[in-house]
């Protein structure tokens, strides 16, 4: 056992290994930063650095684990407070940072327990910091104490891959950096192990050997990285995706259950969650609005693209009644039965819209109006288990450049039609969308007052009066940074409508007020989220940006389904309802009418608006061409396979030519015998130097008794050729060739049996 001083100054793996490990950890830290889970995450770098150093130092000391772990926790806590506190509370002292962190964690816990929607970010920063410290410490400790290289590499690599898998941000450079450092570390630790083994076995190494091994290893690793890079660019496919389809529901359940805790982390590039389009949302008072392009949409008109609806108002946000998730295969009718989503009073005029995501927003799938079919794997969230759209998600995360097509039915109901729709709401609608729990009396009174002031007598015009009031009244101000109720229990809508400190907000404020006031007037309403229409391009498509993310109110009208009511100030609705048309209450839906509608829905695709660069997402297809994703990749794969097969054939041909060249000038019997000996050698049955030809052939005959005559023929030929000194006749040569052909396969089988351990190899004497 070497002394402590020696171990500290010259640990087994050397300090260069720690440098490489730190590079791996830094690539992880930088990758987490680049993924943008938190706006402030510079602290991860020092944590990774100090974690690795602490792990290595404690590993080389003779301290037991029982002491090492508490010391690590203590040092880690100090580093975390110093680094995270320094970034989030730079103006405070170290003690102040500790107290501030403590206060935020307590607030976060209280908010999580009370509302389920905490808004503090430092607990997440702390969580990431703890994970980073733990990873760095364990990796270094494992490497230096237990000399387990694979565990250290796998731990850091798994963290990096998890991070990369959870985001669409391109982190390839970080991975390459990690891989390069990991391979160098692997090389070095393997060399150290070898050198130890040599010392143990009294094998002296020449001075140039370590450098030669490292040099060849580095060249080899660099070549492998380049090759892998090239192959990745030409051959990527996912043939096993369908095998995991059944687990998708489990995953989405898990994701939704964690949505309350991690919903505050708004990473737009996340693969695992969308931008506030989960099963619930809380009005936080801040609306992050960027100009980044989210999607390109091809449709005949500008539409509101809905992805989720909410029926329960929580006083600070919205949530959805528990329901069920239903998977719908690409191209299947989403609602093959009666649903209140369907505008049955109108004749269906379906159209197919095409959406291509320019930026990842998780799995949320956006569609206007009443979606009939989606030509991609779909998961429908049905509110309260009823055939009602609670949310639309793609079964797989939609990456940038991927898209889908949806056949939708857009209602063209006129004001007169909606005005005459009546109030015969279906029971399920009344049960879910008329709740006014938490709404103050003054809100109800305001709604009644506004309707009365407008002289509206039917639901449509009463709702229109509410929307006009919210969108035009000068008391309300549109702002993306708006106040939220500070008094515990204060209602958001009440705060927005009446509190002098309120009356400022963005779409979620306006839409919440609109929905709750409509409900107080007895009109079924729900909150819908998605994107407002984007900019019209010259090619008649629409560019939707992040700032178009929107929340709006949808009110229900019997026979006409859910109608959008835009109440947000500064948002100019892109649609105008015509006022004409008969004012008549639509008849109730008969069975024959339903059958007729379903038939019409299934028939054709309607007007298809397509995008030139449309690429269906995994599992989906293009309704115009029938092309499926992976076709190009499959082409790439086929090319790769052809290249590999041609390469393999070329290699075989080269080897064959080489062996033929080598044997070309040998006499026929000599050649046949040499072939036999080589084949037998592969089977572990090569002739011994001390054996005569007949001794060896006799032994071989015992191994392959069925080919006894052929082996004897080959042996006779060899002996005859060696001792006669004469040329062999053509008939004899042919006999030899035939014998060789017959004995070739049994020898190959002998080689296989030897590989399987069925035959013991012949020991050399």
């Amino acid at each position: 056992m070497s002394s402590l001083g020696e171990r500290m100054t010259r640990p087994r793996e050397g300090w260069l290994s720690l440098t490489l490990l730190i590079v791996m950890l830094l690539s992880l830290a930088w990758a987490v930063q680049a993924a943008g889970w938190l706006e402030k995450s510079e602290y991860l770098v020092p944590i990774a650095l100090f974690g690795a150093i602490a792990g290595a130092l404690l590993a080389v000391t003779p301290l037991s684990v029982a002491i090492t772990l508490p010391v690590s926790a203590l040092v880690g806590a100090l580093v975390l407070v110093w680094s995270i506190g320094g970034e989030y509370f730079p103006q405070l002292s170290q003690v102040g940072r500790l107290l501030a962190l403590r206060a935020e964690i307590l607030d976060w816990l209280v908010a999580l327990l009370r509302t389920g929607y905490p808004s503090e970010l430092t607990p997440y920063a702390l969580g990431l910091g703890v994970l980073m410290w733990t990873t760095a410490f364990i990796a270094a400790y494992t490497l230096y104490r237990h000399h387990r290289l694979v565990d250290a590499v796998v731990l850091v690599g798994a963290a990096l891959i998890t991070n990369m898998s959870a985001t669409f941000t391109n982190l390839f450079g970080h991975l390459v950096l990690f891989v390069a450092a990991a391979l160098l570390l692997w090389l070095r630790v393997t060399l150290v192990g070898r050198q130890e083994s040599w010392v143990r076995r009294r094998v002296n190494e020449n001075a140039e050997v370590p450098a030669a091994i490292m040099r060849s290893g580095i060249l080899f690793a660099a070549g492998s990285i380049v090759l892998a890079w090239i192959l990745t660019s030409v051959a990527v496919a996912a043939p096993l995706t369908s095998a995991w389809r059944n687990l998708d529901t489990v995953w989405t359940d898990l994701r939704d259950s964690a949505d309350g805790i991690f919903g505050t982390l708004t990473n737009p590039d996340s693969r695992i969650s969308g931008t506030s389009f989960g099963t619930r949302f809380t009005v936080t008072g801040k609306w992050i609005s960027k100009d980044d392009v989210v999607m390109k949409v091809a449709s005949t008109k500008p539409y509101y693209l809905r992805t989720a609806t909410y029926d329960i108002y929580t006083g600070r946000g919205w949530t959805r009644s528990d329901g069920q998730k239903r998977q719908v295969k690409p191209g299947d009718v989403i609602f093959p039965t009666d649903t209140t989503e369907r505008p049955i009073a109108e004749d269906p005029v379906p159209e197919t819209v095409t959406v291509t995501m320019e930026k990842a927003v998780g799995r949320s799938l956006f569609a206007p109006g009443f979606p009939i079919q989606v030509f991609a794997p779909l998961v429908v969230y049905e509110t309260d288990g009823q055939p009602l759209i609670g949310g639309l998600d793609a079964a797989n995360a939609i990456g940038p450049g991927e898209g889908y097509q949806a056949k939708v039915w857009i209602s063209h109901a006129t004001e007169a039609q909606l005005s005459g729709a009546g109030t015969e709401y279906p029971k399920r609608i009344k049960g879910l969308y008329l709740g006014t729990k938490g709404i103050s009396v003054q809100t109800k009174n305001l709604a009644v007052q506004l309707a009365a002031d407008a002289g509206a007598t039917d639901p449509y015009f009463r709702a229109k009066a509410l929307a006009d009031y919210l969108s035009h009244d000068t008391r309300f101000t549109y702002a993306t940074d708006a106040p939220v109720p500070t008094t515990p229990g204060q209602d958001l809508v009440d705060f927005f409508l009446f509190d002098p400190k309120g009356q400022t907000g963005y779409c979620e404020y306006y839409a919440s007020a609109m929905v709750m006031m409509a409900r107080s007037l007895g009109i079924p309403a729900r909150m819908a989220v998605g994107f407002a229409p984007g900019e019209l391009n010259v090619d008649k498509t629409f560019t939707v940006r992040e700032r178009n993310a929107h929340a709006w109110a949808e009110l229900y009208f019997p026979g006409y389904g859910w109608q959008i009511f835009e109440a947000t100030k500064t948002i100019n609705p892109e649609f105008v309802r015509s006022s004409g048309g008969p004012r008549a209450t639509p008849p109730p839906l008969s069975h024959a009418r339903l059958i007729d509608l379903l038939e019409k829905e299934k028939r054709g695709t309607g007007t298809v608006s397509s995008l030139s660069s449309f690429k269906p997402l995994e599992g989906g297809f293009d309704v115009t061409t029938g092309a499926r994703p992976g076709d190009q990749e499959r082409g790439g794969n086929a090319l790769l396979i052809v290249v590999l097969v041609v390469g393999a054939l070329g290699f075989l041909f080269y080897r064959l030519r080489r062996s033929q060249r080598r044997w070309r000038f040998l006499p026929p019997a000599e050649r046949a015998w040499l072939r036999l000996a080589l084949a037998a050698d592969r089977a572990g049955a090569s002739p011994r130097a001390s054996e005569t030809i007949y001794e060896y052939s006799g032994w071989l005959e015992e191994q392959i008794p069925k080919r006894r005559p052929e082996i004897r023929t080959l042996a006779d030929g060899k002996v005859w050729q060696t001792y006669s000194g004469r040329s062999m006749k053509q008939s004899a040569i042919e006999r030899l060739e035939a014998a060789w052909r017959r004995v070739r396969l049994p020898l190959m089988w002998l080689a296989v049996r030897r590989r399987m351990g069925d035959v013991r190899p012949r020991r050399r004497r």
Partner: protein
């Protein structure tokens, strides 16, 4: 995962990556899959190619040598391949206490290397130096290639032989006038004097020149200060030896036996040996270098694993002793019955010498207080029968101790 080998972990990791990549189609997972595949395939080929065109050989220069000397072997490796070999490991497996050092060398394409490996031999015995193992592998340690070259070689390490410049065999108790019926290959040249003839003297001992000078019959007297032959009895009864490893009393006994035998053979005398190991090993009296090799080979492989009492061994050996011989007993036994057995030798004209090992001095723990008294008793018994002896203790210089010149210790 702890118990899994590194290769198995890599295979497990690769399987997980392949399933994940083909399930998700994520490009960086494919990058890792391709990288791992490239590394594994490349490593396999690297390792496989590593010994292509490599020729290696070794030769032990002195397969029979003594403890304390160097065992030397010449190694040679040649790379007939075009590719350089970054590292090739060569070593012999052996059961030597300290094996011959192997070597890791890099060999250029078409190049060769040669070197001599040496190791100091510390233990006597017969050892096996296995065939030359030539091994290489890929830089990442996934795969390895190995080949065996040549055949196993036997190495015999003879016991250490100390110089005995002052060694003298005890004089034989005969005067040299008694005709010896046995045919000697060489008659003794050591005529010391002449004396008048008495009845019974052999006629062939009459010195005619002196007879003529004195006018009466004179016969030669031979000086038989040294006996003609030496018979060594090496007591390997496990109960009379102590200590372990190179510091055991049996090593001192074997070294003493080897040194005495070599010294005596160097004087062109016949030497025989009886070793009472697990089996009774007997080398009949003979002389010459071949006998020396036989005796040293025998002594190289004996251990203190016998169970036969020395008295029994001596009694078994006595019939084979001839007049004029010297019996040399090397033992650590403090039993006195064997002393009585050799007491009769004087009458038979056989000299005796005892190399007595002080067994207690090799005992690491506190020695038995009776041991010294027993040893003294044996020495007294030997003195009583006028049998010369040399006392050897642990740590003694054998050259001095066997010559009887050691400083007396109380």
């Amino acid at each position: 995962m702890h118990g899994l080998s590194r290769q198995l972990r890599v295979v497990f990791l690769g399987t997980v990556l392949v399933v994940a990549a083909f399930s998700t189609g994520i490009d960086f997972l494919f990058f890792l899959v391709y990288l791992l595949a490239g590394l594994l395939v490349g490593s396999w080929y690297f390792a496989r190619r590593g010994l292509t065109g490599v020729r290696a050989d070794y030769r032990v220069m002195n397969p029979r040598t003594h403890v304390g000397e160097l065992l030397q072997a010449i190694y040679r490796i040649e790379n007939q391949d075009r590719w350089a070999k970054p590292w090739i490991e060569l070593w012999n497996e052996s059961d030597l206490p300290v094996s011959l050092p192997g070597r890791v060398v890099g060999v250029q394409g078409g190049g060769s290397r040669q070197w001599i490996a040496k190791v100091t031999l510390t233990r006597r015995g017969s050892y096996r130096l296995g065939p030359l193992r030539v091994r290489t592998g890929d830089p990442f340690g996934f795969f390895g290639s190995e080949m065996l070259v040549g055949q196993a070689t036997g190495v015999v390490v003879f016991p250490e032989v100390v110089p005995l410049p002052h060694w003298r065999l005890p004089p034989s108790p005969i005067d040299g006038t008694t005709p010896v019926r046995r045919r000697f290959e060489a008659s003794s040249p050591l005529v010391s004097t002449v004396r008048p003839y008495v009845y019974g003297d052999a006629f062939n001992r009459i010195h005619w020149l002196s007879t003529a000078r004195h006018g009466e019959l004179q016969v030669k007297e031979f000086d038989l200060e040294a006996a003609a032959d030496l018979w060594i009895v090496l007591d390997l009864d496990r109960s009379v030896h102590a200590g372990v490893g190179p510091q055991a009393s049996v090593e001192a006994a074997v070294t003493a036996a080897a040194s005495i035998a070599v010294r005596t053979l160097a004087d062109n005398r016949s030497v025989a040996i009886t070793a009472s190991a697990r089996r009774l090993l007997i080398q009949q009296p003979d002389r010459g270098p071949r006998v020396e090799q036989k005796i040293l080979h025998l002594l190289a492989n004996v251990q203190a694993d016998g169970s036969k009492p020395l008295a029994e061994v001596v009694l078994g050996t006595l019939p084979q002793l001839r007049r004029g011989m010297t019996l040399c007993i090397i033992t650590g036994s403090v039993e006195r019955d064997w002393v009585r057995a050799i007491a009769s030798l004087r009458r038979r004209g056989v000299a005796a010498l005892v190399i007595l090992l002080d067994r207690a001095s090799w005992v690491e723990r506190e020695p038995d207080p009776n041991a010294r008294a027993e040893l003294t008793a044996v020495r007294h018994a030997l003195a009583e029968y006028d049998v010369p002896h040399r006392l050897v203790r642990s740590g003694d210089d054998l050259t001095e101790a066997l010559s009887g010149r050691e400083r007396a210790r109380v």
